[in-house]
């Protein structure tokens, strides 16, 4: 952990552009040199309301973007903001996806997990990686970045929806299983609902493929002090040792794919079948 200037304060940034991805998902663009790596996150502060961790969906050097789904009061208010409105940003925080030159990689996204993986694809393409990108959701309306991914040169796109409204009818993991049988894959990177990512780990581990997961936990400080996002039973902090963690580490964390903790520390189990 390095803290070059030992300061964690939000920087107020004007929203440069707002893009509607779906009726409840927007991408906000900022003109600011964030110096992030794919998979890292920022804390997004709506002054007077709250501040939430958000993964970065693009970083082009002098500008970056976050893609936000209106799933709670704060995110709903953030997605109602317009160009020129201000948000506080601090970060980037956490670990990033790792890949190397000329590798065959599979990126598998569930829902708006496609956002950080799109950023990952942009960076991996620069290193001449061969990319299979699997994007899946319950239905067409929940897919983000589909058009951008269709236009992405040199990337092989696979689409799955549970209702069959676009792409194959089924799960993204069905496609992943086929890909890892058909060709040599060096790394799998995933972001999406936890039970989906757990299934991705099982597939990757069975083939002994390096599998990297974006672990989402309730966070407060984002820099390893508050203890809100620690994982059982190792007690490691998902904001510092994560969010991107290797499936081999996750195997030692009974909590992964089992439960998460709420803002007061209560265990909330992933027993909702719709999350699987």
């Amino acid at each position: 952990m390095t803290h070059a200037n030992l300061t964690e304060l939000p920087v107020a940034l004007k929203i440069k552009k707002v893009v509607d991805e779906t009726p409840i998902i927007k991408t906000l663009y900022f003109h600011y040199a964030l110096n992030s790596r794919p998979g890292q996150f920022v804390m997004v502060w709506l002054p007077g309301v709250d501040e939430k961790p958000m993964s970065i969906s693009e970083d082009i050097g002098d500008g970056f973007a976050v893609t936000i789904c209106a799933r709670g009061d704060t995110t709903k208010k953030i997605t109602e903001l317009k160009e020129g409105d201000q948000l506080g940003i601090r970060g980037p925080y956490g670990t990033s996806y790792h890949f190397e030159q000329n590798e065959n990689i599979v990126l598998i996204a569930g829902g708006y997990g496609a956002a950080p993986l799109y950023y990952t694809a942009l960076e991996a393409a620069k290193l001449n990686c061969k990319i299979d990108f699997i994007i899946s959701a319950h239905k067409k309306e929940n897919l983000v970045f589909l058009d951008k991914l269709k236009k992405f040169k040199g990337l092989t796109l696979h689409v799955a929806t549970h209702d069959g409204s676009v792409g194959i009818k089924g799960r993204g993991t069905d496609i992943l299983k086929k890909i890892v049988e058909q060709k040599e894959i060096h790394r799998i990177m995933t972001c999406g609902p936890e039970m989906m990512m757990k299934a991705v780990c099982d597939i990757g581990d069975a083939k002994n493929i390096n599998t990297q997961v974006s672990v989402e936990r309730y966070m407060k400080c984002g820099f390893g002090v508050c203890g809100q996002c620690v994982l059982d039973p190792m007690g490691i902090r998902s904001c510092v040792s994560g969010p991107i963690m290797n499936s081999k580490v996750l195997k030692m964390l009974d909590e992964f794919g089992n439960y998460q903790r709420d803002e007061n520390g209560n265990k909330i189990y992933f027993d909702n079948p719709s999350m699987k």
Binding site: E8, W45, G88, V225, Q228, V230, G235, N264
Partner: protein
């Protein structure tokens, strides 16, 4: 290699660094990880009787000189705390100090009665958090009579259930006369003190939005900037009241910890250093203390406690 062991309230600590309450203290797994990182003891996050919601984010900000927080003591309540404590006690790699907090005196007693049923070492009565003032009014630690009443009642309840557990009081720097409060607690049967809680509250403003950065607007100040005040108040209480002290406030290096001990602390609370130096700050601080002792011919850390000349 100096002897780093110290005895506090009859309990042996392998080294004087203890995790301060409020940092990394939510789960048993986290406490164990902190002990693996070199801490000689653990203080839990403050436990409420019922579930208690904290403040929205931002809850913690830092600069090179200070940290300011208004986390607002979120907690799932005493039942969840007991299950985490039991999980920790299975292995118990280091002594456990359980911090308790309540809105009223009877609430402190109710929590203490639950916690005292477990095989823990010390109960720290948090009567000094400045971040729940809007909810509960002026902390008990700022009013001598209130501090005395809550200390007496908690001590009586704990003594009845488990006389092996010591009761210490977390003192606030935000009072005119900390020695007066400490004396009141001592008369009420306190076994020791932990000081200081965060200073303030303070206010930090974002210039562009002209908004307070913390969602609670104000927050308690900790970190390197408050260390000289903490050292001074530890020394004040040490000279006035003959009870063991956990000295806490801005300790980030071995030298800081030694200074706190020379002022009169037996144990040294470490919190913000987790940010400034990483989670292994405990072993770093301990190693630095050890090096200093070797260079200066100090054979045991106990030699330096309260050794400041006046």
């Amino acid at each position: 290699m100096a002897d780093l062991k110290v005895k506090f309230c009859g309990k042996e600590f392998s080294n004087p660094t203890v995790l301060a309450s409020g940092v990394l203290g939510v789960t048993a797994a986290s406490w164990k990880n902190v002990v693996s990182s070199g801490a000689g003891g653990i203080t839990t996050k403050s436990v409420w009787f019922n579930e208690h919601k904290g403040h929205p984010n931002p809850t913690i900000i830092t600069t090179p000189s200070y940290m300011m927080n208004a986390v607002g003591l979120p907690d799932a309540g005493v039942e969840k705390a007991k299950s985490e404590i039991n999980e920790y006690l299975k292995a118990k790699p280091a002594p456990l100090i359980v911090s308790i907090v309540g809105g009223r005196t009877d609430e402190f007693v109710k929590i203490a009665e639950q916690i005292a049923q477990l095989d823990i070492d010390i109960i720290e009565v948090n009567i000094s958090c400045p971040n729940v003032e809007s909810e509960f009014g002026k902390p008990f630690a700022c009013v001598a009579d209130d501090a005395k009443t809550v200390t007496a009642k908690v001590k009586a309840a704990v003594k009845k259930l488990n006389p092996n557990i010591s009761v210490i009081v977390k003192l606030s720097p935000n009072t005119e006369d900390i020695v007066k409060i400490a004396n009141s607690c001592a008369q009420a049967g306190a076994d020791g003190f932990c000081l200081i809680n965060t200073l303030g509250p303070g206010l930090a403003i974002n210039l562009e939005t002209r908004m307070p950065i913390l969602a609670n607007k104000v927050g308690g100040i900790s970190g390197p900037a408050i260390k000289p005040l903490a050292v001074k108040l530890v020394n004040d209480v040490f000279r006035a009241v003959k009870l063991p002290i956990i000295g806490t406030g801005g300790v980030t290096t071995g030298e800081d910890a030694l200074e706190m001990m020379m002022a009169g602390a037996i144990l040294v609370g470490v919190g913000s250093a987790v940010y400034y130096r990483g989670i292994d700050c405990f072993s770093k601080i301990t190693n630095e203390m050890n090096e200093w002792c070797d260079k200066n011919g100090v054979k045991s850390l106990t030699e330096i406690i309260g050794s400041v000349k006046r």
